[in-house]
C-alpha cells in the first residue's frame, strides 16, 4: 500500500519546502550560475572592467598545455586513489571479517583515520616523507633510495596518492565490512561443503554479492579523488613539482584564488562540472549494469 500525505491547501507544501529550496538556490544554484556566467567574461581582478569574451576563456584553456597536463594528472590520480583505496579496504575488510577475537579493537583502529581532516592527513604524510628530515625518507636512505617529492614528480604523485588513500580507507572499509556481514553465511558454507576453496569462494560468491557496495564506493571514491583531496594536495605538494600533482580542482583554486584570473578559473570549473556529470551518468549507465542487487 502506498503511503501518501494530502495537503488541503495548495501553497502549504511549497511553504514547507521553501527553506530547503532557498538554501539550495542561494548556496548552490546562484554561485554555480555566477561561475558559468564568469566563464564567458574577461575581467580584471577588482571587477572594475568586465567585458563579454565569448568562448575565449575556453579556447585559451584548451590551448594551454598545462591545463591538458592537469587532465592527465587527474585521470592518473583518481584511478590510483579509487582503485588503490578500494582494493586495500576490501583486503582489510575481508581480514577483519574473519577475526573473532578482539574484532572490535581492530575495527576501531581501522576506522580511525576517517576522523582526520584531509589537510592534517597531508601534513602527516608530508612530514614522514619530508626530504632529508622525514623519518621514512631517512629509513629509505639506508636502502639507497633518495626520496625527494619536492623535485621528483613520480614520488610527489606517490605521496599524495598514499595520503589520500590512507584517509579514505576507513570509509571504504566500513562499507565493505557491513556488506560482508550481510552476505548469508549459509551460501558460503554450502560452497565450502561443495569443496570450493576460500579463494574461489571469494571470487564467485562474496565479490559478486558485494558489487552494489563496490559500485557505490567507486562513485564516492572518484568524487573524493576529484574534489576532497584538495586539502591533501594543498598541505603537501601544492600541485608541484612542475604541475605533476595539479589536479583539476587544484588548478581552479590556483588560477582563481591565488592568481585572480576569474574568467579562466570559472571556465575550468564549468568544464569540471561537465566532467563530473558525465562520469556519474556513465557510471550509472554502464557500470551499474554489471551490479547484482
Amino acid at each position: 500500500m502506498e503511503k501518501r500525505v494530502f495537503f488541503r491547501s495548495a501553497w502549504l507544501p511549497y511553504l514547507l519546502v521553501a527553506p530547503q529550496l532557498a538554501i539550495t538556490v542561494i548556496f548552490f544554484f546562484w554561485p554555480a550560475a555566477q561561475a558559468l556566467w564568469f566563464a564567458f567574461l574577461r575581467q580584471d581582478a577588482f571587477g572594475m572592467r568586465s567585458e563579454f569574451a565569448g568562448l575565449d576563456n575556453f579556447r585559451d584553456l584548451l590551448a594551454d598545455s598545462n591545463y591538458l597536463q592537469s587532465f592527465q594528472v587527474t585521470a592518473v590520480f583518481s584511478v590510483l586513489v579509487a582503485v588503490g583505496g578500494l582494493a586495500l579496504a576490501l583486503l582489510l575488510a575481508v581480514m577483519a571479517d574473519r577475526v573473532i577475537k578482539g574484532a572490535l579493537g581492530y575495527r576501531t583502529l581501522l576506522i580511525w583515520p576517517y576522523a582526520v581532516a584531509p589537510a592534517i592527513a597531508g601534513v602527516l604524510w608530508g612530514f614522514m616523507f619530508a626530504p632529508s628530515i622525514g623519518i621514512v625518507t631517512y629509513a629509505l636512505k639506508g636502502f639507497g633510495i633518495h626520496f625527494n617529492w619536492v623535485l621528483q614528480s613520480d614520488q610527489a604523485m606517490l605521496l599524495v596518492v598514499m595520503a589520500s588513500v590512507w584517509k579514505q580507507i576507513s570509509y571504504n572499509f566500513l562499507f565493505f565490512l557491513a556488506g560482508l556481514q550481510s552476505i548469508p553465511k549459509s551460501l558460503i558454507e554450502a560452497a565450502a561443503i561443495d569443496g570450493a576453496r576460500p579463494f574461489r569462494r571469494f571470487w564467485t560468491i562474496v565479490f559478486p554479492l558485494l558489487s552494489p557496495t563496490t559500485f557505490f564506493l567507486l562513485v564516492v571514491n572518484i568524487v573524493y579523488a576529484f574534489f576532497d583531496t584538495f586539502g591533501v594536495i594543498d598541505a603537501t605538494t601544492q600541485g608541484g613539482p612542475s604541475g605533476a600533482t595539479q589536479i583539476l580542482v587544484y588548478k581552479v583554486y590556483n588560477d582563481g584564488v591565488k592568481a585572480a584570473d576569474l574568467g579562466g578559473s570559472s571556465a575550468q570549473s564549468a568544464i569540471l562540472m561537465v566532467i563530473v556529470i558525465v562520469l556519474t551518468v556513465a557510471q550509472f549507465r554502464f557500470v551499474e549494469r554489471r551490479v547484482n542487487y
Partner: protein
C-alpha cells in the same frame, strides 16, 4: 505609544553617550606572523598613542595571496579595508586596478601631508613607482637575496672561510671541495625564480622582459630565454646532477636546511638572517650573490622582494588624512631603523639607513649591511630597477615549474626557458586583454 516613547528615549540616551568626536578607524590588513606580526601591532599602537583622531586597526588576513584575495573580494563587495599589504608579485595587478586604488603620491598631496619621494631608498621606492616617477604604494617590508655560507663547513673542506666565492666559477670550485669533504648538501636556494631568474637578471644587467621589465608598459614580453639565462639555469641543472645543489622548494624551505647545518651554502632572502642567527650552531657569513664574470658589467645591483602597503579607493577624505599621517609615522627614521635592525628587512628611507650606520650597528653585527650595499651596488638601470608583470603570481609559478623540470633532469635548460617564455607571455597577453587602457 508608551513603548515608542521608551524607544525614543533610549535612542537619545545612546546618542548622548557617544563622545563628541569619534575616532576614525583605519583598517589595515596584513600578512605578518610571529615576531613580525608583533611589530605590526606595535606600529599601530604607537601611532594610536601619538594622536587622538585616528585608530589604526591591524588585522592579520592570512598569507600574502590570501590577504590580497580577501582585499579584492572585500572591494568587490564594497567593504574594502583602507590599507592592504600586497606582496611584490601582486604589484602589477594592483597598479592596473585604476579606480580601485588610491596612489600614495595622490594620497599625500590630497591630504596635505609632507611627502618627499626622494627620501626613500631608490632601490626600494623604484619598485613601486610608475614610469612617470609617481610613487603608487608605500614600501613596507623589503628584502633582497643574499648568499650565506657555513664557515665551519668551509674549514672542514679545507677552504678559507673568509675567501667566499665571488663568482659562479669560484663557487663551482668550492662546491666540489665541499662535496669531497662529505658534505651531504652543498648548496640550496630559497625562492628559485626570484633568486635565479629575476635577481640573476638584475645582477647581470640583463632584461627579464621588454619595456623595462614591464615597468614601461603592459605590452611586455619575457626575455628570460636569452643564452645567458639559459646558461645559468643549465649550470644549476649541472650542479644538481653533480650533487652540488639540493632543491628544497619554491618558498623559504631551504633556509631550515641551511641553519640545521645540512647545507653549506644558501641563497635566500636577507630577511632570513634573524632566523639563521637564532638557530645556527655554527659560524656563518652573509655575502653578495655570486655573479658570472664572463658577463660584462656584472655585478650590477640586486632587486627587492617583499611587500608594500596599498591604499584602496572609495573612502572618505578624512580617512585618507589618517592613512597619510600613519604612513608618515612609519617612515620615521627611528622606527625604520629599529624595523631594519630587528627584522633584516632593508630600511625604507635614507635617513633610517644613515641612523643605523651612525649607531655602529653594522660594525657590531657583521653581514647586516650586505643587503643594502648590494641593492645600492650601482645606480639601477632599466634592467635592474624592478619588474612589473601582470598576473606574475602565475608567471612566477610557470618559471618555477620549468626550473624544476631542469633540476629533475627532465628537460634541458634551453627547452625549459623557451617554454617558460612562451607560457609566461600567454599569461601576460591575457592580463593585457583584461586590463586594456
Amino acid at each position: 505609544m508608551k513603548l515608542k516613547l521608551h524607544a525614543a528615549a533610549l535612542a537619545a540616551a545612546t546618542l548622548l553617550a557617544l563622545p563628541a568626536q569619534a575616532q576614525t578607524e583605519i583598517q589595515w590588513w596584513h600578512s605578518m606572523t610571529g615576531a613580525l606580526g608583533d611589530r605590526v601591532t606595535e606600529m599601530a599602537t604607537g601611532f594610536n598613542a601619538s594622536q587622538k583622531d585616528y585608530k589604526v586597526v591591524p588585522v592579520y588576513k592570512g598569507s600574502y595571496p590570501e590577504s590580497m584575495t580577501a582585499a579584492i573580494a572585500a572591494f568587490r563587495a564594497g567593504n574594502a579595508p583602507h590599507i592592504v599589504q600586497v606582496f611584490e608579485v601582486g604589484t602589477a595587478t594592483m597598479m592596473s586596478a585604476r579606480g580601485a586604488i588610491k596612489p600614495v603620491y595622490q594620497l599625500m598631496k590630497d591630504s596635505g601631508q609632507p611627502f618627499d619621494p626622494k627620501s626613500y631608498v631608490s632601490a626600494v621606492a623604484g619598485y613601486y613607482t610608475d614610469s612617470k616617477g609617481n610613487m603608487l604604494s608605500m614600501p613596507f617590508n623589503s628584502s633582497t637575496p643574499v648568499f650565506y655560507i657555513n664557515k665551519d663547513a668551509f674549514k672542514k673542506a679545507g677552504l678559507d672561510p673568509n675567501a667566499v666565492p665571488k663568482t659562479w666559477k669560484d663557487f663551482g670550485i668550492a662546491a666540489g671541495k665541499l662535496k669531497a669533504s662529505g658534505q651531504s648538501c652543498v648548496y640550496t636556494t630559497g625562492w628559485p625564480s626570484w633568486v635565479h631568474v629575476e635577481n640573476f637578471s638584475a645582477w647581470h644587467n640583463l632584461p627579464i622582459g621588454t619595456k623595462e621589465n614591464g615597468i614601461g608598459g603592459i605590452d611586455t614580453q619575457f626575455t628570460i630565454n636569452s643564452p645567458l639565462h639559459v646558461a645559468h639555469i643549465q649550470m644549476l641543472g649541472d650542479f644538481a646532477k653533480n650533487g652540488w645543489f639540493t632543491y628544497a622548494g619554491r618558498r623559504n624551505e631551504a633556509e631550515a636546511k641551511f641553519f640545521s647545518g645540512e647545507c653549506a651554502m644558501l641563497t635566500s632572502s636577507s630577511a632570513a638572517q634573524a632566523n639563521i642567527r637564532k638557530n645556527a650552531k655554527f659560524e656563518f657569513s652573509v655575502n653578495f650573490l655570486p655573479y658570472n664574470d664572463t658577463i660584462k658589467g656584472a655585478p650590477q645591483n640586486s632587486i627587492i622582494g617583499g611587500a608594500s602597503l596599498w591604499v584602496l579607493a572609495g573612502k572618505k577624505a578624512v580617512d585618507y588624512k589618517g592613512v597619510a599621517q600613519f604612513f608618515n609615522y612609519i617612515a620615521r627614521p627611528e622606527l625604520q631603523a629599529s624595523w631594519h635592525q630587528g627584522t633584516g628587512y632593508v630600511p625604507l628611507t635614507n635617513a633610517a639607513a644613515e641612523l643605523t650606520r651612525k649607531t655602529g650597528y653594522y660594525e657590531k653585527n657583521p653581514g647586516t649591511d650586505v643587503a643594502v650595499k648590494q641593492l645600492n651596488n650601482k645606480a639601477p638601470t632599466a634592467n635592474s630597477k624592478g619588474l612589473r608583470f601582470g598576473n606574475f603570481v602565475q608567471g612566477r609559478e610557470v618559471i618555477e615549474e620549468e626550473i624544476e623540470s631542469v633540476l629533475a633532469g627532465k628537460k634541458d635548460a634551453k627547452t625549459a626557458m623557451d617554454e617558460a617564455v612562451r607560457r609566461g607571455n600567454e599569461i601576460l597577453r591575457k592580463f593585457a586583454a583584461a586590463n586594456k587602457e
